[in-house]
Symmetry: C2
Subunit: 131 residues, 2 copies
DNA sequence: GTTTACCTTTACGTTAACGTCAACCTTGAG
DNA sequence: CTCAAGGTTGACGTTAACGTAAAGGTAAAC
């Protein structure tokens, strides 16, 4: 058999992998995002915990709060039977999607401006060098 | 002559246009982002103030802090002659640009997941309706 | 057996970005 | 004149997302 992916992680392994502190990881647990099991008093993280952590961090990078990520995860897991909850979730998803669309526009405009600023920079430096 | 764009704004006009509070606008002034003139004690905003405000809000939407926006504006204005400052600015711009690139990836992945979640939602609702 | 390296809980501190009064001008309308 | 609509300056309150000790358990290594 080939290498099998480990099916548990320690807190510091995850911290290292995602370049965050163990404090942050415990904090996410407080917020109900992660639910590691315990071996004695030590936390043991499953691949599922790892995925949730990854998604959470990705969410953060695009401006999701922890509460928002948690809410999405929560709906994703427990909303299979309740129609109202499913529809709330759909609304939330649409709302988030609209935000992402706006963000993409913002990013493109911002990139254009950064590029313009960069060019201004270059020519200003050239001017100095040729002085 | 056709309609000319107004060249001054009151604080509440800007607040209404951008759907923020006057408190926020004054806060941005505290942070050195805006520099309205005064008529008596009242603030008068120029088109330039308005643009800076707009850029600031756009920056916020993609995760720039006020300090970061302020720093960019500041460099943009006072860095024309200092080579070191120009190079610092270039580095900052590159850094920001890398972040934006990552953000675009994050957004696309997140959109894919939202779409998947949406489809799960739909079929779950259908199931309920057909039960 | 005692460092050393991680792990734990508890709890107060911190920063950003405003919100929310309070207490006070001012100015055009009636 | 007065009063309602907006504007002003403090200044304290709030939320999110951790940072930063403090004080201790535990287990493999020497």
């Amino acid at each position: 058999m080939a290498e099998t992916t480990p099916n548990t992680y320690t807190i510091s392994e995850l911290a290292k992998e995602f370049n965050i502190t163990t404090r942050a990881i415990r904090f996410y647990e407080d917020k109900g995002i992660l639910n590691p099991s315990r071996k004695g008093q030590k936390r043991i993280y499953s691949p599922r915990d790892r995925i949730l952590l990854k998604l959470t961090l990705r969410g953060k990078r695009i401006g999701f709060t922890l509460a928002e990520s948690q809410k999405l995860f929560d709906m994703y897991q427990h909303g299979e039977d309740n129609k109202d909850q499913l529809e709330t979730m759909l609304a939330t998803l649409d709302e988030k999607d609209a935000l992402l669309t706006q963000q993409k526009l913002d990013i493109e405009e911002m990139e254009a401006e950064l590029q313009a600023a960069r060019e201004r920079c270059f020519s200003a430096i050239k001017k100095i060098d040729n002085a």
